[in-house]
């Protein structure tokens, strides 16, 4: 998903199917504008972190004891 792809009802329906999360049409519609904002911001962060300058950075899942 690219940030310039609009999040639509169909997008949410597809993601729900992928997650095996059965949501009715009313709930799916409610999620569309919120998901659009969240995904756009997440994609922007992803582009930043995918830059060559950051290629050696590892994810933190546990902090070192120092």
């Amino acid at each position: 998903m690219k940030s310039d792809d609009p999040v639509t009802n169909e997008t949410v329906e597809r993601l729900c199917a992928q997650a095996d999360l059965p949501l009715g049409p009313e709930r799916r519609t409610r999620l569309v504008p919120m998901l659009a904002g969240l995904i756009a911001a997440a994609n922007e962060l992803s582009r930043k972190m995918a830059a060559a300058a950051h290629q050696s950075i590892l994810p933190i899942l546990r902090f070192p004891e120092r």
Binding site: L38, A41, A42, K48, I57, I60, F63
Partner: protein, 471 residues
């Protein structure tokens, strides 16, 4: 005979009176329970009041003191615990309907440590449902309100703990902090709260929100009281896989040290940017006070600071949705609407979004560790605005532009959470409506001692922390 109103005593003052037998644990606990009965219908800071148990424990604590035994500075001190912290034999709802009848068979490590130190648990505090939100507008257990103005929110998710301490219904409380849930309610309720370094305090038997960011810690009226509670709960716990084997420092020893020569960092275009005027003014004045005590202020660039809100929202969306996956499919209607929506949204991120957000944490931490070569602490406001009306989902920070509450509220508190750094919030003033303003002090990993030192030095020359709401 007790000196002063027991409700106004700090932990340190109450402990001295208890040990000197000028005040008894029974008197002190009774004063707190009567205060809860008087004000909590309005504030809704508690989900469960443990009145019978608290009275029984207070009588036992009193007998021990009469026999010459004192378990330490928390012996006979009434405290409250956020309701996502397991308490053996006392229901632990996590602010939810789903766990509304859940009674744990064992304590959380932090609860057990407080009990062993002689603390008396007067109740379990209200919270945002499952800690996933910052308002404590709880649809199952009642809307928690701010003691400084009950029409305003107490923030969250540990809003009940913040309101309970501010309303003088307990002398200290425990909260949990994932993206700001201790510091936000500490700020808007005019009290002190610390988010510890991840691994410093055990999370064992605490209902999780986001495993890689969750922490537990005290909320009190003074920094000194915070230290007393922190010393009891900090330290390695073999039951918590993320617990750190790092020795616990002499935090009380730190309180005696001056801040002369301490280097305080401001993050360029961030620390004092995009905040309500009263908030900016109060934090600038607090910085002047620290300068007056001999601290030096330095501005530091941190190129990756922007992006933190997206990273926090991504991690705080995905991890709770993994924890709640089964309930969301079997008991969706039992969630409040806001939390249900956030849990649904958390299932719709891509794995790459989550991993890039976790990589961003490494980048942010690296920049902070670099910055700590030049300064000892960083300072920001705790949140960019003062308490909003209860029920508000938007907030105005500058001009007339309305912003989404969830993103706006984590402007400053998300950063230490992501970078795994400790951060202290302390009161530094009031806005023109009489609502408290908080300042956040961020420290090096496992250097909570310096944060306590800065906060205590500030409280020695200011009186914001001595003011109390009229209820």
């Amino acid at each position: 005979m007790a000196q002063g109103d027991p409700l106004d005593l700090t932990i340190i003052e109450a402990a001295a009176q208890l040990e000197g037998r000028r005040l008894s644990p029974v008197e002190l606990t009774e004063a707190m329970l009567q205060r809860i009965a008087k004000v909590d219908k309005q504030i809704r800071a508690y989900i469960t009041v443990c009145d019978a148990q608290a009275r029984e424990v207070a009588r036992a604590a009193e007998r021990m003191i009469q026999a010459g035994y004192c378990l330490g500075p928390l012996h006979g001190i009434p405290v409250a615990l956020k309701d996502n912290i397991y308490t053996r034999g006392v229901r632990t709802t996590a602010g939810s309907k789903i766990l509304s009848d859940y009674v744990p068979s064992e304590d959380a490590t932090v609860a057990a440590r407080l009990k062993r130190a002689g603390a008396i648990i007067v109740g379990k505090t209200n919270m945002h449902e499952f800690a996933w939100g910052g308002t404590t507008d709880n649809p199952h257990h009642g809307t928690c309100r701010n003691p400084w103005n009950p029409e305003r929110f107490p923030a969250g998710s540990s809003g009940g703990s913040g309101a309970a301490v501010a309303a003088r219904t307990c002398l200290g409380a425990l909260g949990t902090d994932t993206g700001g849930s201790i510091r936000l309610p500490s700020s808007v309720n005019g009290i002190v709260g610390i988010r510890p370094t991840i691994g410093r305090v055990s999370n064992y038997n605490v209902v999780p929100l986001a495993w890689t960011m969750d922490t537990v810690s005290p909320m009190t009226r003074t920094v000194e009281d915070c230290v007393v509670m922190f010393e009891v709960i900090a330290g390695y716990d073999p039951f918590d896989e993320h617990s750190a084997q790092v020795p616990v420092a002499d935090y009380r020893g730190e309180l005696g040290r001056s801040v002369h020569g301490l280097r305080v960092g401001l993050i360029r275009d961030y620390s004092l940017t995009h905040v309500q005027k009263a908030v900016g003014d109060a934090v600038r004045a607090a910085l002047k006070t620290l300068e007056g005590l001999g601290a030096r202020i330095e501005e530091i660039a941190m190129p990756s600071i922007h992006g933190n809100i997206s990273a926090q929202l991504t991690i705080e969306s995905c991890e709770p949705s993994a924890y709640h996956q089964q309930w969301l499919r079997t008991r969706a209607a039992d969630y409040g609407e806001d939390v249900r929506t956030l849990l649904e949204l958390g299932e719709m991120y891509l794995a790459t979004h989550y991993i890039q957000a976790q990589r961003y944490r490494s980048l942010l931490r690296k920049e902070f560790l670099e910055g700590f070569k030049r300064v000892d602490v960083f300072v920001t406001p705790t949140l960019p605005f003062t308490a909003t009306p209860c029920g508000a989902t938007e907030v105005v920070i500058e001009g007339n532009r309305k912003e989404d509450m969830l993103s706006a509220i984590m402007q400053f508190t998300g950063v230490p959470s992501l970078a795994g750094l400790p951060a202290l919030s302390l009161p530094v003033g009031f806005d023109p409506d009489g609502l408290p303003v908080g300042m956040q002090v961020i420290g090096r990993p496992f250097d909570e001692g310096t944060l306590f030192r800065v906060g205590h030095a500030y409280q020695q020359v200011t009186d914001w922390h001595t003011r109390s709401p009229r209820l």
